[in-house]
């Protein structure tokens, strides 16, 4: 156990700084007396060697994609190319101010413009803003645009947003934050959108419907175009949650499906590393009728022989912009990383989706169709979260048959996978699949990794249930008591001493 607050170096030993421009004694006269801080914050008093070791140790207790297979469904945990990290360390990225004159930011704006265009093209939208810093913020911003659109049309009474019960939690949360009432519609037994249920709730109070396609079950919604028609006929807008965009690039697009607005999760589809929970980037694309509401500013360009490749770039504000959702211009560093990632594929982005889908189907097949030898000793097999011939980039398994037979829950299997050196799949989401494990391998995993995972997964099913239920056994800590944490709420170091 390395406790950062236990290092006991001299208070000022940690990190030397150059002298201030005015002597330290004089400083007190520059601060109102009543505002002078009496005690410094009790931050660690550690030297660089101690901290390097501390954080090395902490990192060794953390699992990332670099540590092993990370099949966390819905999160698209693909490899993060290293060149992207090098690029954002360039002074022309790391050390620029968003409010600098446009002439200082021409390279950045050129990249922004290229990304706006590329995202619009791939999704079949007309305009893109890069400002939202995460998927959820993209949802929020887009729903705000839709809200302003309806208001501008005098459609003030559209106060409901329809969301399938398989939707990600951010969908209802974001719409609710805009003040909408959420109408959740149940999925069909086969996990697909239920058009009848949709028709039943659609009307002149419908502001929008939010859909993820492929859905959070990893399934393409075959009737998506009809759904869009139903909503549009009622005067509502169709919102596409692009978290699963990795599955369909070059194959179809939200535009073709009939959507009006979409967010992209750059940190998923375009491989921005989202270390420990973020950063992300959630640009939104919209059809022309919504473009005037987009958060400001966007980037446009004009021909200019002296500019970059013949253009100079500038900010523009949409006419009836909802304003801003982040102080500056979004997570520019994430956009630049995603640009570098996109450039690697260019017009072959389709290949990326093909491999993501290939890997998901292959792994699903390997798990659900074991040979008889592997089946031996397995008391019960998981079943498809929803029946399908093919899935897209991810799939769900219901562990109910196992729970019923041996008492081993989905969570137990997830924890046991940790012992085998894997990150656990997404657990108990979507909520419509009982004892759900949601598995997304991504395109950057090799066949060997998928084969090995399938074998290990099946091996766990044949293990002594007691071992699985008490897993994990070989991790840095054993199963963590989350209830104690919530009851006792020890949310900071006591620093007694």
């Amino acid at each position: 156990m390395s406790d950062i607050f236990a290092f006991k170096g001299a208070h000022d030993a940690g990190y030397a700084q150059p002298k201030p421009l005015i002597s330290e004694d004089e400083i007190s006269s520059l601060i109102p007396n009543s505002m002078v801080r009496k005690n410094p914050p009790k931050w660690p008093t550690a030297s660089e060697p101690e901290l390097v070791r501390h954080y090395t140790w902490l990192s060794s207790r953390n699992f990332g994609i670099d540590s092993g297979f990370y099949p966390l469904g819905s999160c698209t945990m693909k490899h993060n190319p290293r060149i992207n990290e090098r690029i954002v360390q360039l002074p022309g990225m790391n050390d620029i101010h968003p409010l600098a004159p446009e002439s200082h930011l021409q390279g950045l704006l050129a990249i922004f413009y290229e990304m706006q265009e590329m995202l619009a093209h791939c999704s079949g939208m007309d305009q893109v803003t890069l400002q939202p810093v995460a998927g959820a913020q993209g949802e929020f911003a887009a729903i705000r645009c839709i809200q302003e659109y309806h208001r501008n049309n005098g459609d003030e009474c559209r106060n409901k947003v329809i969301v399938p019960d398989s939707a990600h939690g951010t969908n209802p949360a974001s719409a609710a934050m805009c003040g909408y009432e959420i109408i959740e519609i149940p999925s069909r037994d086969d996990g697909r959108l239920d058009l009848d249920a949709l028709r039943a709730v659609t009307g002149d109070d419908t502001a929008a419907m939010m859909v993820t396609n492929p859905s959070t079950l990893g399934l393409f919604e075959p009737e998506i175009a009809e759904a869009a028609e139903i909503v549009h006929e009622a005067g509502g807008q169709m919102y596409y949650d692009g978290a699963n965009f990795n599955a369909i690039l070059g194959k179809t697009s939200p535009g073709l499906m009939g959507f009006d607005a979409v967010h992209y999760n750059l940190h998923k589809t375009f491989s921005q590393p989202h270390g420990g929970g973020g950063p992300g980037s959630g640009p939104i694309g919209v059809k022309n009728h919504l473009a005037q509401y987009l958060p400001k500013p966007l980037v446009d360009r004009r021909k200019d022989a002296k500019g970059i490749d013949g253009y100079s770039y500038f900010w523009i504000n949409p006419e009836n912009s909802i304003g801003k959702v982040q102080q500056w211009h979004g997570n520019a560093g994430a956009v630049v990383r995603s640009w570098a990632f996109y450039r690697r594929y260019g017009r072959e982005l389709e290949k990326m989706s093909e491999h993501a889908v290939l890997n998901a189907n292959y792994l699903r097949y390997r798990i659900l169709n074991p040979d008889s030898a592997s089946l031996q000793g397995i008391p019960a097999m998981p079943v498809d979260g929803a029946p399908a011939d093919v899935v897209k980039h991810e799939f769900t398994l219901s562990m109910s048959p196992i729970k019923d037979t041996t008492g081993v829950s989905g969570k137990d299997v997830a924890k046991r996978l940790l012992d085998y050196g894997y990150m656990a799949p997404t657990l108990y989401f979507p909520m419509i699949v009982p004892e759900c494990l949601m598995i997304e391998p991504t395109e950057t995993e090799s066949k060997e990794v998928l084969d090995k995972f399938a074998d290990d997964f099946l091996a766990i099913l044949s293990e002594d249930p007691e071992i699985v239920k008490s897993a994990p056994h070989s991790t840095d800590v054993g199963r963590v008591d989350e209830v104690w944490a919530a009851r006792n709420l020890v949310l900071r170091h006591p620093l007694e001493d």
Binding site: D12, N80, H97, A176, G179, Q327, H329, A334, E354, Y362
Partner: protein, 463 residues
């Protein structure tokens, strides 16, 4: 040639083992009428070398702050980040992890975030900190909605929130977007001629849900009146203070003068200005707001063997469980950047953060002295009722004898980034108002170049 795909060339093998023929079989579930017909109209794939060359060319066309005298700030500052920080934070185990849903294999990030919470708590003088917000603006916005949820029932002015006058649009606009859905009315807290909060008028805020002010304020003034606000607005109104985080190396933590929630921008700790993102917002509060707080939080606990362990906690507030009733929609956040912040803060230590604040104060003061020595340039809000003119941290605002835009463009041509025309970011600001920011990275030569330039601009008739 696309690389990074380990199964390139093995597609057939994998398909056949599933009894499939072609990749297209995998997309048979997409109805024909919505299939894309034309291939993507995008450039050819590039190699790492080519991407790197283009990145250098494009980003090299930007003008880095460090490459010339720079006085831009307004909430995002030129800084120096110790090399240890990016080197340790980009270790793959941190860099390529996601939200620690499985605490058993995520103790590293969890502990680092718990330490972060502790350091922020110490910095601002409040017991609870989350593991970061998107940025200072969304932190302020969600602090307001959080406070309304807590206080609305008892409030004598329900759904009303007071926000300091002169808030830059880049924060005000975000707040406005976030309060729409909760039906919150934003009213303005006016300021005196000395630039500080008008305490007399602040009495109007008594009984509303929350008051949001900034310390130092958007003009860079250290507002001593803010210390008296809590007393005026009372216990049923949340005092939300937006801070310039580094200033707390020298200034009283808002927790000590009654702040209920402290928000702010973390960027100066841990990461360069990076065009405004990814950065991270701070959010700390008293226990009262804990269950209405947005964002993730880490708690200490034990494992099945009684060994100390860390885990995300209180997630019943969050969208993945509470869905449309969640306290916020935030899911992906800025943890990795907060980690960089934690590393930088730990390296600075108690005396280092003080030193940093001193350097910022000193640079600001030297710049102020130099600029104010130019005939025709005056401090904004100099008509202080007290004996002393306002004191500043990191930045100060002046009234020019001409348009700030013209001064900035004059300076820009001389290779100096002179600051920000306040009229660009504040409604009602005069075109002659200029915000000048100086940091620990400001050098005496930079100040000299600024002043010489401004002086020439004035002598040349301000054009």
């Amino acid at each position: 040639m696309v690389d990074h795909l380990p199964n390139l060339g093995r597609e057939a093998e994998m398909l056949h083992s599933m009894g499939l023929e072609s990749i297209e079989d995998l997309f048979s579930d997409i109805p024909e009428d919505i299939k894309r017909v034309e291939p993507l109209d995008l450039p050819l794939p590039q190699t790492e070398e080519e991407i790197w060359a283009d990145a250098q060319r494009l980003l090299g066309a930007n003008i880095a702050m460090n490459s010339r005298p720079n006085f831009l700030g307004a909430g995002l500052y030129q800084n120096f980040v110790p090399t240890m920080v990016p080197m340790m934070a980009t270790r793959g185990e941190f860099l390529t992890a996601y939200t620690p849903y499985q605490p058993e294999v995520s103790q590293g990030m969890l502990q680092a975030m718990w330490e972060f919470q502790t350091m922020i708590s110490e910095l601002v003088g409040l017991p609870v900190s989350n593991v970061s917000m998107y940025d200072a603006s969304t932190a302020a916005a969600e602090a307001i909605t959080c406070a309304v949820r807590v206080h609305n029932r008892k409030a004598s002015q329900p759904n009303v929130v007071y926000v300091t006058e002169w808030l830059p649009e880049h924060r005000l606009s975000v707040i406005q977007n976030y309060v729409v859905g909760a039906d919150i009315e934003i009213r303005l807290l006016t300021t005196n001629d000395d630039g500080k909060i008008n305490l007399e008028m602040a009495k109007n805020a008594n009984g509303c849900c929350a008051v949001y002010v900034e310390q130092p304020n958007p003009f860079g003034i250290i507002d001593t009146n803010i210390q008296n606000l809590k007393e005026i607005i009372g216990d049923d109104t949340a005092l939300i203070v937006g801070v310039n985080a580094t200033s707390l190396g020298l200034l009283t933590p808002p927790g000590e003068y009654g702040a209920d929630i402290v928000v702010g921008e973390g960027q100066a700790f841990g990461i360069g200005a990076t065009a405004g993102g990814p950065i991270y917002g701070l959010f700390a509060c008293t226990e009262k707001y804990l269950r209405q707080m947005p964002g993730r939080i880490v708690g200490k606990t034990f494992d099945s063997n009684g060994k100390q362990a860390f885990t995300l906690t209180l997630s019943t507030r969050e969208q993945h469980i509470r869905r449309h009733k969640a306290t916020s929609n935030i899911c992906s956040n800025e943890t990795l950047i907060a980690l960089m912040g934690a590393m930088h803060m730990a390296l600075l230590g108690p005396s280092g953060v003080q030193k940093l604040a001193i350097r910022n104060t000193a640079a600001c003061e030297m710049t102020k002295r130099s600029v104010l020595s130019i005939p025709g340039i005056e401090l904004l809000h100099n008509d202080s009722g007290e004996n002393q003119p306002p004191q500043h941290y990191n930045e100060f605002s002046v009234i020019l004898p001409g348009s700030a835009t013209s001064a900035l463009s004059f300076l820009n041509h001389r290779g100096v980034t002179g600051g920000l025309a306040l009229s660009d970011i504040m409604e009602g600001a005069d075109d002659s108002w200029l915000l000048i920011s100086a940091t620990d990275q400001t050098k005496l030569d930079d100040i000299q170049e600024l002043s010489v330039g401004l002086n020439e601009w004035v002598l040349g008739g301000c054009s």
